[in-house]
Structures are given as structure tokens and as C-alpha cells.
Amino acid sequence: MAVQAESKQSSHAGDHSKLDPKDHLLLDPKPRGEMNAMVMEAMQTTHWRFWVAVAVLGGIVAYCLVYMWIYMIQEGLGVAGVNRPVYWGVFLVNTVFWIGISHAGTFVSALLRVFKAEYRRPFTRAAELMTSFGLIQAGISILMHMGRVWRFYWMVPYPNERMLWPNFRSPLMWDLLAITTYLLASTMYLFLPLIPDLAMARDRSTGWRKKLYRVLALGFRGTEKEWSHLHHALNIFAFAILPVMFSVHTIVSWDFAVATRPGWNSTIFGPYFVIGALHSGIAAVSMVLIVVRATMKNMKYFIRKEHFNALGVLMLIVSMGWAYFFFNDFMVQWYGGDKWTHFLLHWHEAGPIGWMWFLMLIFNIAVPWLTLWNKKWRSSPLVLFVVGLLINVGMYFERYIIVPVSLGINRNPFSWGEYKPGVEIYLTIGTFALFILLYMIASKLIPLVPVWEVQEGQLAHSVRKIGKAELPAVTDLE
């Protein structure tokens, strides 16, 4: 009996001591040439459905974004729903939302690089692309909000005959500086690690692609000096772009927080906005990866359940962080006793948009907490996609409640009012369509997987036997 028990135990231990390398990309290496071929095939193989989607999205962009924007410029901002007392409507909601989406790329790429989180390797570029394209939508939304968009250059500081100079004490100018800095920095941070992959694409392309990649690869060969310069630059970028990322959404929060309005004048708005940005951003990265994996060839090799599991854990932690900051913000305002704030909080919960307030809490807290604790569920692309979608809907609601809903209540009860969006609905659909369209086009033009980073990771990983168990071991090669 004792022998039987020992044998059972031993067999049980044996089942768990073997590591299945197929679960881990970095322990399941393929020859570099094969990985290159897989990425090139994913980029160059295009199903007819892709072109149909591009045509539909192009049509939506042309009508909802281009035509409607021209219409708004011709007719004036009156065709939008912004009016007293709600001067900031969906345009600002979209700006905050898209800047939030853009945080994911930097967070996933830079922060995980700084902390040497190895699972980041195959999807850093997919996330970085979201940063650049998200910021473009944020910038477009601000320009829409300006109304007289052709006066944009008035914000640019240069000596001029108008004797106008931007006011650098205004949070709106800080916005311009921070978003410009972030857009340029994230574009450079996207491009630098792309150079070796563009060189790879150059080496195995023909025709117009060869010419394009030849120009973009800048003559990169992979000499020791080139790698060394790139390595130094990526380290500097990874450390420096993080405070820029934090500054951008903090400054966006100050657009609201520095105004002495009920609901906005909160010292915790900076970190509350940053964590909100990460919440929607990481959820959006997960969604994009799931779509990329499902629709592009060979991506199942690079993007695996281990990555969804890791992103699911991140989403759960960030959701807890968001709940913590939300409660802090709510608690202090509720306790303060200011009657206008009290009116506002009551308006949030029991006003005509009260359903949105409750859905925000359900989508941002209840849904991730009830699902993502389970490894099996969070590793499932379908579950993670649905949770990510709901989080993004919840975060859009959060921004909607902060901007137009909160603006409806102020210290002058005679001017209270509701906001009903007009042309903004089309323009919002247009920005979403443009984001997806740009991403789809980019996925066919640049290698979406940083193959050299994956190869570097595979070189650094091995299986080490400790006792009876085979465990993954990592060598620091960066």
C-alpha cells in the first residue's frame, strides 16, 4: 500500500515536472529565417475581406469624419450639441479617451522593458502602434473642438505681427506641449526598434516594398556599433517616456482639476486619470491582439494564451487601482459637504444618465473582478475580448460623466442643463473608423511582431532542471 502510494505520488509529481514549451513562445524557438518568413507572410497575405473592411472603413471616414467636419466648419459649432452650460462635449470625451488608449503602448512597451517582463516581446509593436494612432485621434478631436481649426497656429509660440503670445500658465498650453512631446516621442520610440525589422523586410522583399523598406531601414546592417547605439537609445527612451506618459494624462486631468467646479476640483484627479488611461489602454491592447491573432496568418505562434493570461492579470490589477482612486475621489467629495458637489453626485447617480454611472462601475470593476481572477477565463481570447470591450465602454462612460454630465450642474442653478450631442456622434464614429483603418493599413506595411526582440528573448530563455522539475530560466542579455 505504502509502495503504491509512493508510486502514485511520484507519477503525480512527474506530470507537473515537465514544462510544455508549446505554452511559452520564448521556450519554443523556431529558426530566425522561419520566423521572418512567418511575419512577412502575415504582412503580405491579404484576404479579400480585408479590402472590403478597408473600403467600408474608408467610406465611414469619408462621410463621418471628413464630410461632417467640413459641414461643421461651414455651419459653425452650433450643429454640435455644445451650448450653455455644457461647452465641453463629446470632443473632449474623445480626446481624453484616445489619450487613454495611447497610454497602453508606452506602458506595455516601456514599463515592461524597464522591469524586464519577458512576455512583452512579441506584442510591444502592436501596442506602440496604438499609441501613435490613438494620439492622432486625440489631436483631431481637439482640433474639432476648436471650431475655427484654421486658427490652430495661434497656439504656436513664434514672434508675429499680431503681438499674440500663448499663455504658458494655461493648462491648455501645457496640453499642447505635453501631447506634442508625447506624439513625437512615441513615434520615435515606435520607429527605433522597427529599424532592424525593416532591414529584415528589405532583405526579403521585391518591387515597391523593397524600395520602401530600403528607404525606411536607413541602411541598417546590424553591426555591433549600430546595435549598441540602438540599445542605448531604447534604454533612454524606455526610462524617459514613462514620466512623459504620466505627465500627459496628468496635464489632461488638470484641464478639469484646476477649475473650481464641483466634481472637478480634486487633488487626486491626476493619478485617477492616469490609472483610468491604463485601464482602457491595456484592455484595448488585449482586444487588438486578439483581433490580430484571429485575422492575421501565423500570429498564433507569436501571440499565445500566456500573453492573454499576463495581460488579464495586468487588467485585474489596474482595475483594482482604478476602483481605489475612484473611491478616493468620490469619498472626499461626498464627505466635504459642499452642497453643489452634493447635487452633482446625486445627479450622477439618480439623474437621467444615472444608468451610465452604474454601468461604469459594473464594467470597470465588477466585470473584471468577477472574471479575470480565473486563469482559465483570462487566458481565453473570447472572454478577454468581451471584458476588454466592456472596460472600454465603461471608461468611455466615465469620461462622459466627467465632462458633459458634470458640466450640466454648476453653482448657478438657473443655468443647469443637459447635453445632447449632435454632429459629434458622426465625428466620434469617424475617429474610431480612422483608428481601425490606420491600424489595418499599418499591419500590412510594417512587421507587427518585432522578430529580433523575440529571437533575443528565445536566446535568453532555456529550461533548467531543478530536482525533478524542469523550470524556465532567463539569462539577462539586454
Binding site: 529558426p31 530566425r32 529565417g33 521572418n36 509660440p157 503681438m163 499674440l164 503670445w165 499663455n167 504658458f168 500658465r169 494655461s170 498650453m173 501645457w174 506641449l177 505635453a178 506634442t180 512631446t181 513625437l184 516621442a185 520615435m188 520610440y189 520607429f191 527605433l192 532592424p196 532591414a199 529584415m200 528589405r202 532583405d203 526579403r204 530600403r214 528607404v215 536607413l218 541602411g219 541598417f220 546592417r221 546590424g222 553591426t223 555591433e224 556599433k225 546595435w227 549598441s228 547605439h229 540602438l230 540599445h231 542605448h232 537609445a233 533612454i236 527612451f237 524617459a240 517616456i241 514620466p243 512623459v244 505627465s247 496635464i251 529580433w452 529571437q455 533575443e456 536566446l459 542579455l477
Partner: protein, 174 residues
């Protein structure tokens, strides 16, 4: 004086490429006459070589100092050239000025870092160079400058070390 030859030895793995460095040393070929080209970064120590010096951090530092001055210019100097009194605040209050200065420091530091890579790597360079497309497929190329009379000894040494191919490197359009 005879013109030097460039020999390109192509290896499939790191280990034989690293061992080839010993063979080169035995032939009296110094580190400065050898260049290693790879499709993904490898630590120079793996090849028994020194870390190449990079001035990219210096570019970043100079850029951040430049950004500091531009931030000070925007936050402290220009408000005096174009005074605009708003909300009873001073022309250059401390906290808002820090925001402007911070953003300028970061912007110019990161732009300089990017330009550092471009200048240090001498990008863009579309001239013909010694290269082999298999490098980006994971092969490791060792490019060696030698006197013509060393060619056969070098080729033998590289083949013995495990090189897949050894040939005179031709400049090609990449």
C-alpha cells in the same frame, strides 16, 4: 602598399563564430580589424569583444540641457516680452513654469537621443556595403580586414572554426 581585402565569414551559430575570434587572434588579426554583423543583438562578451563606445547618452544629456534653456526661455523670458496679465497671477509663477520646463527637457532629450542614433550610426546610408541577406535570417557575419597574402590562411581558419561560407566581401546595394 597593397590594398586590404575584406573577407566575410558567415556562421550559423554563435559558438563557432565566437571561437573564430580565437583563430583570428592566432593569425595576429586585432579586434579593430574585425566587425561582427548580426540580425539580433548579441552581447560583445559572447564574442570575446569589447563594448563599442556610444555617444548616444551624451546626445541625450546635451539635448536635455538645451530643453532646459528653451523651457526657461518660454516660461520666464517670453512672458516678459509679451506680458499678459491673467487671473492676478504673476507672469512666471513657479508651478506652471515647472510643467513647461519639464516638457521641454523631455522633448529635446528624446529628440536628441533619436538624432544621436542617426548621427552615430551614420544613417541614412544607402551606399553599397559589405553585407549578406542571411544575416537577418539569424546568421552571424564576421567581416575581417586582411592583407591579401593572409587570405588563404584566414579562409582555412574560418572554415575550421565552423564557418558556413568564407568569401571576399563584395560591396552590394542593400
Amino acid at each position: 602598399m597593397t590594398e586590404k581585402l575584406k573577407i566575410l565569414a558567415l556562421f550559423e551559430d554563435i559558438d563557432p563564430a565566437a571561437h573564430s575570434m580565437d583563430a583570428l587572434h592566432d593569425l595576429g588579426i586585432g579586434h579593430e580589424e574585425v566587425e561582427v554583423i548580426t540580425g539580433s543583438p548579441i552581447k560583445p562578451e559572447m564574442m570575446g569583444r569589447h563594448h563599442p563606445h556610444s555617444k548616444v547618452p551624451l546626445f541625450a544629456f546635451v539635448g536635455s540641457v538645451g530643453g532646459l534653456f528653451i523651457g526657461i526661455l518660454l516660461a520666464f523670458v517670453t512672458p516678459r516680452l509679451y506680458p499678459l496679465n491673467v487671473g492676478g497671477k504673476g507672469l512666471s509663477p513657479g508651478a506652471p513654469s515647472i510643467v513647461v520646463i519639464f516638457e521641454m527637457i523631455m522633448l529635446f532629450m528624446l529628440i536628441s537621443t533619436f538624432l544621436g542614433v542617426i548621427f552615430e550610426s551614420m544613417f541614412p546610408d544607402y551606399t553599397k556595403k559589405e553585407y549578406h541577406p542571411e544575416i537577418s535570417d539569424g546568421h552571424i557575419a564576421v567581416l575581417i580586414d586582411i592583407e591579401p597574402d593572409q587570405q588563404s590562411a584566414l579562409e582555412d581558419a574560418m572554415k575550421n572554426a565552423g564557418a558556413k561560407t568564407v568569401r571576399v566581401a563584395e560591396r552590394q546595394q542593400i
